[in-house]
């Protein structure tokens, strides 16, 4: 306790008084303000982090409004959702935003993750930043699954039955764990009640992990399209106003696309069976997960053994945690890694294929393709990526971010995509 901390330097005396005692304005300024130096060459793929944050806020606000009108009981849940759709003022809008918001949350996060993989943002020193991101992704999948059971339609009920059944493959304790999760031997009213409670809780846990994610981000700052370290202040610009306005523009475009779904095809991403009330005595012809879980469902069904299938499915996500140690290449950006770039796009195509296969019947050609794509998923991470570190010769890296931009004499400023990138 030597010196008392210095007085804050805000012009507004009230803000200054508060900030001296509780430095929230300083914290904001250092997070999204003028005191947060950011690489000047970030392209539009860097919009999706803040976009994901906005979508979470939209989800929490609409979710709370829905919770005020929803009844978590097997006899009333479906009716209460229809009441929201028909009788609550603006209820259809709130529900359609929430429903499609879940899908768009995943779209945004998948793009955010794909950008990360392309530009090697998960590499040292940002390993924990990446791992926290994977934790958020896992929590999102749990939250989305729990939320999907709440309308108590046919897919809600049978999806919950199938997914909770995964845990029964655990040796010895599997069955007790399933009854503990369900609050009984089958999916029933206790299940709905606890799923509702957890669905309300988890978004706030996600918000907490996002705080950690941001703290970890600000330790070393954002990666950038060139994937090289910051060399001098010349490489940096303040977050505000440059990236606040750029994020705002991105948000406008995103919301316009989002609105096309909410207002014109609100049910296109859902399944018609979920407008049929849950019936434990009638199994739907095909039980399919929502599209965003589909790739992992494809992996599950590709493996003939139930226990191994579940292990493969969880392993497919678990493998993401060790990715920073599988990829030892010192070069981050795929822009300078000609071979990685090819395998990156192959990986993306493979993921889309898995997503498609996850909603098809696993028979004939679909089963063969499902197994091929599943195998490739693991080969990509466990063989291709470590092997590339050995055999790939990366291109020469620029000396600094400012270097290539000014030496090429381009009229475009930093925020453009690096040239020559496919």
């Amino acid at each position: 306790m030597k010196n008392s901390p210095p007085e804050s330097q805000f012009k507004n005396p009230i803000i200054n008084w508060i900030d001296t005692r509780l430095p929230i304005f300083t914290a904001m300024n250092e997070t999204v303000g003028t005191e947060h130096p950011t690489p000047k060459n970030l392209n539009y793929w860097w919009n999706f982090g803040s976009l994901a944050g906005v979508v979470l806020v939209i989800m929490i606000i609409t979710g709370i409004a829905l919770a005020m009108n929803y009844t978590a009981h097997v006899d009333h849940a479906f009716d209460s959702v229809e009441r929201i759709m028909r009788d609550v003022n603006g209820g259809w809008l709130i529900r359609y935003i929430h429903m499609n918001g879940a899908s768009f949350f995943f779209i945004v996060v998948y793009i955010h993750m794909a950008r990360n993989l392309y530009y090697g943002s998960y590499k040292a020193p940002r390993e924990l930043l990446w791992i926290l991101g994977v934790v958020i992704y896992l929590l999102m999948m749990a939250t989305a699954f729990l939320g999907y059971t709440l309308p108590w339609g046919q897919m809600s009920f049978w999806g919950a039955t199938v997914i909770t059944n995964f845990f029964s493959v655990i040796p010895f304790v599997g069955e007790p764990i399933v009854s503990w999760l369900l609050g009984g031997y089958t999916v029933d009213n206790p299940t709905l009640n606890r799923f509702y409670a957890l669905h309300y809780l988890l978004p706030f846990v996600i918000a907490g992990v996002i705080l950690l994610h941001i703290v970890a981000l600000h330790r070393f700052g954002s990666n950038n399209p060139l994937g090289i370290d910051i060399k001098s202040d010349k490489d940096m610009i303040p977050f505000h106003p440059y990236y606040t306005i750029k994020d705002f523009f991105g948000l406008s475009v995103f919301l316009a696309i989002f609105c096309v779904f909410v207002f014109f095809v609100p049910n296109i991403l859902g399944h018609p069976d979920n407008y049929v009330p849950a019936d434990p005595l009638s199994t739907p012809a095909h039980i399919v997960p929502e599209w965003y879980l589909s790739p992992f469902y494809a992996i599950l069904r590709a493996v003939p053994d139930k226990l191994l299938g579940v292990l493969a499915m969880f392993g497919a996500i678990g493998i993401l945690f060790i990715l920073p140690w599988l990829d030892r290449s010192p070069v981050r950006s795929a822009h300078f890694r000609p071979m990685y770039k090819v395998f990156y796009w192959l990986f993306i195509i493979n993921m889309l294929a898995l997503g498609y296969l996850g909603v098809q019947n696993p028979e004939g050609i679909y089963l063969i393709l499902g197994r091929t794509c599943t195998a490739w998923y693991f080969i990509h991470f466990l063989i291709v990526i470590p092997l590339l570190n050995v055999i790939e010769i990366p291109k020469a890296l620029p000396k600094s971010i400012s270097d290539p931009i000014f030496s090429s004499g381009s009229s475009e400023m930093g925020a453009t995509t690096p040239r020559g990138q496919k």
Binding site: Y44, K246, V276, Y356
Partner: protein
């Protein structure tokens, strides 16, 4: 940016193909007036559809999420709705003596169901439960087209198909054997507005009506959507211009 849009479009097509799996592979496609971004319901068709539902479907199928007051969407006024609702008998109660009692319907009542409960409905229909129709076009792949096809799909069974006891051949039903007997016949109703009531006309009208029942908010939703998207596009253009200007300052400073 162009690439972002491209990827979203690819994703969009992808999601369409994912969900377009079932079941209307060979059904009739009709150009419904309520489809498309500016589509609206045809009020006279809705009114005819209500008549078909009331005189034909409602003997077995409930429509429990619709209240009589909702019929104002069809262009009826308060008196007409009140008169219509009074045609139905509602079981209410218990009253002060603890007894259930019957009274005429009111506009605030939901459509009276033909059976008191699911078991009664099954018992009266040979074990098959006639589903509630409030959400039928949303709850079936193919939506309005599927419903319309099903209603006009009762044909002579081909020799290869053995029609089992208690089922009926339907060209468009999954498995072709449906427990519902053919509901619509030419001149099965006499339309109040004089429209000729052949099977296709009645099927189209009741499909329009049930599409409204499933999505009564549709017209308001699309109107709001046009306004919201117009607003957001203007916001996007303005924020893009602001962004260009702010970044131009940076260029000047650093050049």
């Amino acid at each position: 940016m162009i690439r972002t849009v491209f990827i979203l479009v690819v994703f969009l097509l992808f999601s369409f193909s994912v969900n377009a799996s079932d079941p209307l592979e060979k059904g009739e496609h009709k150009s419904w007036g309520f489809l498309g971004p500016f589509g609206t319901y045809n009020k006279s068709s809705l009114q005819r559809g209500l008549q078909v539902y009331t005189e034909v479907c409602s003997s077995c199928h409930s429509l429990k999420y619709i209240a009589y007051r909702n019929l104002s969407d069809l262009g009826y006024n308060k008196e007409e709705i009140k008169a219509f609702s009074e045609n139905f008998t509602v079981t209410d109660g218990p009253n002060d003596d603890g007894e259930m009692f019957e009274r005429p319907g009111r506009p605030s009542d939901h459509f009276v169901s033909p059976y008191p409960n699911v078991n009664a409905a099954k018992a009266a229909n040979g074990g098959a439960y006639p589903p509630d129709l409030s959400l039928i076009t949303k709850a079936r792949g193919g939506g309005a087209d599927y419903l319309y096809s099903l209603l006009i799909g009762y044909k002579e069974a081909p020799d290869s198909i053995k029609v089992l006891e208690g089922t009926y051949y339907n060209k468009y039903y999954n498995g072709n054997l449906i427990a519902m007997p053919q509901p619509l016949y030419d001149d099965g109703v006499v339309y109040a507005d004089g429209t000729k009531a052949n099977i296709e006309q009645m099927a189209a009208d009741v499909t329009e009506f049930l599409s409204w029942a499933a999505e009564p908010e549709m017209e308001e939703r699309k109107r709001t959507g046009i306004a919201a998207i117009a607003f957001l596009l203007i916001m996007a253009v303005l924020s893009f211009m602001a962004k260009q200007q702010i970044w131009a300052n940076l260029k000047k400073k650093q050049a």
